[in-house]
Subunit: 781 residues, 2 copies
Amino acid sequence: MGITDDVTHESLSFDPDWEIERAEVVRAVFFGLGADGTVGANKNSIKIIGEQTELSAQGYFVYDSKKSGAITISHLRFGRGRIRSAYLVRRASFVACHQFNFLDRYDVVSYAEPGATLLLNAPYATDDVWQHLPREVQDEIIAKQLRVFVIDAYKVAGEAGMGRRINTVMQTCFFAVSGVLPRDEAIGHIKTAIRKTYAQKGESIVEKNFAAVDATLAHLFEMEVPARATTLRARPPIVAAAAPDFVQRVTAAMLANHGDDLPVSAFPVDGTWPVGTTQWEKRNIALEIPVWDPSVCIQCNKCALVCPHAAIRAKVFTPASAASAPPTFKSIPYKGHDFEGSAYSIQVAPEDCTGCNLCVRVCPAKDKSNPRHKAIDMAPQSPLLDAERENYAFFLKLPEVDRTLVRADVKSTQFLQPLFEYSGACSGCGETPYIKLLTQLFGDRTLIANATGCSSIYGGNLPTTPYRTNADGRGPAWSNSLFEDNAEFGFGFRLAVDKQAEYARELLQALAPRLGDDMVVPLLEHGIPGEAELAIRRTQILALRAKLAGIEGDDARRLELVADYLAHKSVWIVGGDGWAYDIGFGGLDHVLAMDRNVNVLVLDTEVYSNTGGQASKATPMGASAKFAVAGKSVGKKDLGLLAMSYGHVYVASVAFGAKDQQTVRAFLEAESYPGPSLILAYSHCIAHGYDLAFGAEHQKVAVDTGYWPLYRYDPRLRAGGANPLQLDSPAPKTKLAEFVREEARYRMVEQRDPQRFRALMEQAQADIVYRRSLYERMSRE
Amino acid sequence: MGITDDVTHESLSFDPDWEIERAEVVRAVFFGLGADGTVGANKNSIKIIGEQTELSAQGYFVYDSKKSGAITISHLRFGRGRIRSAYLVRRASFVACHQFNFLDRYDVVSYAEPGATLLLNAPYATDDVWQHLPREVQDEIIAKQLRVFVIDAYKVAGEAGMGRRINTVMQTCFFAVSGVLPRDEAIGHIKTAIRKTYAQKGESIVEKNFAAVDATLAHLFEMEVPARATTLRARPPIVAAAAPDFVQRVTAAMLANHGDDLPVSAFPVDGTWPVGTTQWEKRNIALEIPVWDPSVCIQCNKCALVCPHAAIRAKVFTPASAASAPPTFKSIPYKGHDFEGSAYSIQVAPEDCTGCNLCVRVCPAKDKSNPRHKAIDMAPQSPLLDAERENYAFFLKLPEVDRTLVRADVKSTQFLQPLFEYSGACSGCGETPYIKLLTQLFGDRTLIANATGCSSIYGGNLPTTPYRTNADGRGPAWSNSLFEDNAEFGFGFRLAVDKQAEYARELLQALAPRLGDDMVVPLLEHGIPGEAELAIRRTQILALRAKLAGIEGDDARRLELVADYLAHKSVWIVGGDGWAYDIGFGGLDHVLAMDRNVNVLVLDTEVYSNTGGQASKATPMGASAKFAVAGKSVGKKDLGLLAMSYGHVYVASVAFGAKDQQTVRAFLEAESYPGPSLILAYSHCIAHGYDLAFGAEHQKVAVDTGYWPLYRYDPRLRAGGANPLQLDSPAPKTKLAEFVREEARYRMVEQRDPQRFRALMEQAQADIVYRRSLYERMSRE
């Protein structure tokens, strides 16, 4: 499309209507949701047409680096002779929209040429679909005289036992409607492709796909297009009216897929992007959302802790502040001495929830009269949307808790505002609960160096970022350097922060005669961790600033610039196992070996999740990975043992699904430890191959089998003569097999070579026993 | 000087006599021996003149990358106004030769302009010096009318308690003779510089240097130069007449410092250099060499094992083969059943020995009637030279032992021919005995990937290499890639070797109908380690080659190319701690985590030795290093523990000076283990700051204090149900202080801040206790 450079004015203008496509080439565009299978199905279609017909085929697949759940656009061309169009399709004879709500959000129909075919996946009866289209879409269908075909693909897929995987259904529709191949021939090819793709995952998957293909044609209908538009409902704005100017002008354009049209002048000059912008994105991807039943709730806040998207939250507040609440807003008296007399509420962000189900699975509160009913249950989103949207807006306006009064337990920490919310992470992600907790505990004083990987993608993905500031304007400073240097990058943060603090103290001493010793002496003490300590120090700095304002001279101005560094800063180095165990390991090890106060959080999914599942040195024995389908023959690297062997490094191994209190404790200890700290955080992941609704429960199995031991190694204990290593999980209760059988990454290896798998599992089980015994011995003095 | 390109003929000719130096600039050239302090003293002189006078000063220092003991040439200029001569001095008014034997080797006097001053350090009385000069030097002194000054600097330094450090003495001579500054003023400056340079190393070092300065002038004399030459003795050839053509033409020119004059055509087209060339270098740097007394010897061969330069050797041979021995050649009947009836000899290479004294220190055999007399004692080299040169030449011609008969003990391994000899490593080096042992045990089947560091410098330093082949033409294949990728580099060797072997087996199978199953079937079995197995396999390959010669076709020719890969190959990845613990650690860890048969040898000097002593993660707590003089606050990284934690890696920690039999055993086990192996080899080093004659004894202290534990972790033992970890050193017998007090790297820290040092040592001692207890627990099941 070209760049519109209105800053240097050096860009060339062009005619957007100039057309160089060959008329005889079929052009098709497909709008899908990341991980719904659209891209994979289209790749299959290309193979079928390219290999089974005389036609040439071409495909471009456009998707951003968001995790599953974002938009994907597939641009396909088919035709006789070579296809040399090295650019995207702009006018297609076939346009498919695999997600009905995209029509409210993107200019899907603008891709259709006059007389083209439009295929819609719609959760409505065919006759009913028209009235659900926004005015702009109705107008354009009529003006372009499009043929419109409709299928309720989720219904077909669901009935075929495929859950939400609609790719096979939509691929069948494409071949049925486009006429590229004879129907029966096309269906034969689709089935062959299905067998080839899914055979490794088991025969039942193949059968389900076959059933979906067979059921599709009976549910595919052409819609009668009225002569004129029948609705007044216009497409809603991309972002709410309350969004700030920059979000309206820039972020919204990028969210609407019009980012390429933005002129150069729209972008921030220094590359710094506004934070907290995910709140304007409102992806609405959950079909069902949790509903809170206060009468059953025990107020444990576990639902809030495990939520990967900060979309279910807890608050305590004065009953009076709920006086103006919307009619359906729910609250009950708080149970507990710490905030006695307060009201308590659990509230869902209905448009930000991804429907992962994790909160419901961990909820321990059951209705005694109906054990299938819990304090939170899932319910369809649409009917709840308007009311819960209003409730959530009200909830957000309720005052945040006084941080100095919050205790160090799971329940209390969930009253702290998360400064990481609604990220683009996968539904059910096992990493983001740790990051969210980190921002709740320390976000207002934190600098985060983020390694490349999932966490850098959902952490800082244009056009939005999930990191935000609190009401005081404080929040994590976040940046991503390279895959290989993140530990060093964060180490640099620490050196810089310490140097600024040192400089501030020098200036304080220089200005002492004018500031007075009463003010200067307390501020010369190094800032220390802790909510109360931080509150006092911030008050001192405010007083300092007030006094500095009345003092002339360069030193006073300089001290104003660096005064905030007189308060404690928390440096966190965050990344995945690909970074920590492999690509960044040399640097990580070197930084741990230095004696500086940095905190390292390793989000261990045991595989390169972001790039699709290649083995890392964190991958356990016997698990398959991309390019290593035979199963890993070498055990997982013991990164924790290496770090402990230095003696001066705080090390913790945690799994929030198994023991959330231990996780919270490890984060607090790591941050308060004045040297390097390393937290190895078990993170369930779609790469493991099971429904992530069970992620937290599966973490418990990981710990119970000894697969993932929990421990904390605190060098401070040595000073008191105690053993620094504390084991937080008991001796394995069950066999590794309990854990392994739930995960497809293991089942694939077993299916491929059962004998080899058995040998690997025996070795892995023996390793667990050996390691446990080693750690037990280490923990005894 | 320019390049003489006689291949492309594109170089420009030039007039070597064209002179552009300004007449009023003083030019001085100094010939020194690496690490004799010449360069440091000259840098001091430049500072004195540049800072204390009106003169400008300039210095160029030319030395190759050889370890201490090689030639250094300092080119200095002093004069009024700016010095802009960006090139070396060719005609000097002052030439100093700090090593008398350089006159036999280099054109020292050619640098002197007519009427210049020549300063000689000579181990003779002044009147006696003239007759020891070779004819060429006498002629040139007379022709150029040089003034010649003489000092016996080693005598002066020795009497001042400075051992062989003659730098202060020679610097004083320079100022005394050159007249650049008034004598008294110069001496004042020298003393100030001495204090500045050595204060940190202790007051006694300063005092010794002062004493040397004061004694110098009384021992500096001008020599009367006769009117004509009085000797017939010409300068000896650089290399022996027996050296091969390439060595005569190319290597010798480079050794004589005339490498820049070699034309392009002299160099190997593909960059491959002939091996075993150190044998022609004959550096003659030992003032004293060991002398063997067979009547005291107990035939333990420890002297041969510890020799860093393979300059003292043991052999068994039939008494008959000694019949034609030179008159002073010594041999005695061999004691032992394995080679019963043989004769036994210990022989020194008098011109290759560096006089380090290690062999004498480790010799356990004392004369009962005179305990100060051992089976080997040091004696001045000169009187022994001619006879021992002849004896050594005879010794080398005696047949090598039958490798299949050699047992796996220290004594027996020293009958195996070293394929690594007379390297440029420092006198007394603690690394080279390990490499030598490696080549004795496996050299004829070994590929070595060498990390950058000392071992790459003395291992492959132009113009000579210490690696060599045996009489069959077999020897280590050796290469050096980068500092950061050596593990991966060697891993590639393994992959390539395995692939070639696989290809050879494929070809064998294809040719089976013509070769016959009797020949093919045994060869299809993978080659395995072991002398006997290798001998059998080599015989099989010889038979195969004989048969292939009679078979036509491409497959037969291809198999001839790769047939040698049917025999076992031993891949070794060698480097120092800077590589293994720091710069190459990420890659090393990754290679260890793979399940391939590579052997890693880490020569751990606990510091970046090659670049002058910067701290690595192997540097222990409390030791000083360059840029870290306050002493390291973090303990040494436990690389062995990390490797053991994988479970499938063979790991050994060895120290030949403490338990040589354990070292030999570890090498044999590592090589025979079919997966990755890691040997951590304690290597004493000049960077530790003590006389390396005591290196082996000091290793024993390192082990006795628990500072360096000995162990072997053999994953094969797990299969038998045994604990894989075997501790080979007992619980610490003495305190760390015993070890630490001998090393200057610790003493410097203590002197700087005794309180901090005490705290670090307490922590280090506690770490030793903790680690020992951890390892003990790990080794019990």
